[in-house]
């Protein structure tokens, strides 16, 4: 243990003042801004479910244009950008070296902003491919590939220069994210457009992409963040690094086949459906390895939840991860799928994964990182706590309404004596709860953004004053 502490102190000493974190600032502040902008889009969509005529005659605000903007904006503008920003923070620190190239990092951030702004204009203008999670027009998707190569090159080049041979599990998850994203994104955005890939073939590839976008992009990126920030925020070492590696490798082996469970009872091969069910249920192995590790790390540290907002987000995200990863395998069972497939249960499940789990983990990271890289204190702990509770209450309201509403909707759809329009009218109260929950979540986003931006401004002002004094 003494050796460990000695080498740890040496690591800290070696790391002093070598991190510029310019790229981290660019990515995180951009991500937080897009979170708020796309949050407004989300509210408009939720309002349209309750009042279908709302903004209905203006082409730019029709559901068919706003929904892809909401999905892609949240996934790529907020969440992936936040995860990338956090990766630029923790990878150099874990490797004991500075980022390979801050200039390349800033250039990547600028390109990422060009992509998101292009996405806003093209999607609102009605230019889209029409595939789930792969709506971006091909030229914009090509820019995403270029930006990802720039990001991956910078991260791998940093890892190659690392001081320590054995890498911490977050580094493994991030390397997995970078490599898996390359395969998954190319499949969803380009392979689906190849000649002869139409109809069921196209749907098969699209769902392979869609589910793997969550499982092989946002899951490993989010877990990389959680594995770094739970020990750091709780000031308590991870329960077991060995277990974390077992979780990583089991995820690597079982995830890729699960996407077809979205097409159960559809016109795809029965054996493919069965394989997707088997692999979906096997997902419980990596999930349990992850959740057990996080909860065991918190042993004796739970009292910190009271006054540590990062930890609040991290542990709530962990619980939502457990819940959403229980839902996934259950959804893949033929009997459950016959009820919930294509209903509002699906967006309820997706929101718990993307918002409840991975956005919570990312927000925890942002709350932890921003005060440190701007060398100041968080603008307001109180506002941070408010934002957490608004996210939690709004999120729970939305998730619960959509799960229950989805089951209700599915049971009605399975009863041929109920006219379809009656099932639409019956869901009105559910959509009202979703809209009201959305308002609460949006208030959380506003407080989060205000707190983060104020912290950054305060840090910038302190730095200017220090420069003037010297």
């Amino acid at each position: 243990m003494a050796t460990q502490q000695g080498s740890a102190s040496a690591a800290a000493l070696a790391n002093q003042d070598i991190h510029q974190d310019t790229t981290v600032k660019w990515f995180l502040l951009g991500a937080v801004g897009y979170f708020a902008i796309v949050g407004i889009i989300a509210l408009i969509i939720a309002a349209k479910f309750v009042w279908p005529q709302f903004l209905g005659t203006i082409p730019y605000f029709t559901y068919g244009r706003m929904r892809p903007l909401h999905v892609n904006g949240m996934l790529f503008g907020w969440l992936l950008a936040a995860d990338m920003g956090l990766a630029y923070y923790f990878v150099p620190r874990l490797c004991g070296v500075k980022l390979w190239s801050e200039k390349l990092g800033v250039a990547t951030s600028i390109l990422w902003n060009i992509i998101i702004i292009s996405a806003i204009f093209t999607l609102l203008g009605g230019y889209q491919k029409g595939f789930e999670y792969a709506d971006l027009p091909t030229p914009v998707a090509v820019l995403v590939v270029i930006a990802w190569v720039m990001f991956g090159f910078n991260i791998f080049a940093t890892i190659l220069t690392r001081k320590y041979n054995q890498m911490y599990v977050s580094t493994w998850y991030l390397m997995g994210t970078i490599l898996w994203t390359a395969f998954v994104y190319l499949t969803g955005n380009f392979a689906t457009l190849l000649p002869g890939i139409t109809g069921v073939n196209q749907a098969n590839l699209n769902w392979m992409y869609t589910h793997n976008a969550v499982g092989l992009i946002f899951t490993p990126a989010g877990l990389a963040v959680a594995y770094y920030f739970i020990p750091r925020a709780s000031n308590s070492p991870l329960y077991s690094h060995k277990l974390s590696m077992i979780g990583f490798w089991s995820l690597a082996f079982v995830y890729v086949w699960t996407g077809a469970h979205h097409m159960l009872h559809g016109p795809i091969s029965q054996w493919l459906q069965t394989i997707s069910i088997v692999f979906s249920v096997m997902l419980l192995i990596p999930v349990w390895a992850v959740v057990y590790n996080f909860i065991a790390t918190m042993k004796g540290q739970w009292h910190q939840l009271g006054d540590n907002v990062s930890l609040k987000f991290l542990m709530s995200g962990t619980i939502f991860y457990l819940l959403t990863c229980f839902q996934g395998p259950m959804h893949s069972l033929r009997s459950v799928n016959a009820i919930v497939s294509k209903t509002d249960w699906i967006p309820g499940h997706a929101h718990m994964a993307v918002l409840g789990t991975f956005s919570f983990l990312a927000m925890a990271g942002v709350y932890y990182v921003i005060p440190r890289i701007f060398k100041t204190t968080l603008h307001s702990e109180s506002l941070a706590n408010w934002s957490f509770w608004l996210f939690l209450i709004g999120g729970l309201g939305m998730f619960t309404a959509l799960w229950l509403g989805g089951f209700w909707q599915g049971w009605q759809w399975n009863n041929p004596s109920i006219p379809f329009i009656d099932t639409v009218v019956a869901l009105q109260p559910v959509w009202m709860v979703r809209f009201l929950s959305g308002i609460i979540i949006f208030l959380g986003i506003v407080l989060f953004m205000f707190n983060i931006v104020s912290t950054a401004i305060s840090g910038g002002r302190n730095a200017s004053e220090a420069t003037a004094r010297s």
């Binding site: 460990q4 911490y168 499949t187 069921v200 750091r232 091969s269 932890y368 005060p371």
Partner: protein
Amino acid sequence: MTDYTYPSVYFAYFLFALLAGGALFFFLRSLKDGYLGPNSEDPKYRMMHDDPDSERNPARHEK
């Protein structure tokens, strides 16, 4: 019952083989590097001290 296999499934097969093969290669490589060996817990202690900002001011954000 004859079960038609769509060409996209073969593509999915290929991707799966590629990813599973890559995972297997790096998994075996990680075993060789001692990730499941007696020193496999070292990284979790080292990462607790990798941030000079936290070293200098641990109570900046969390109490």
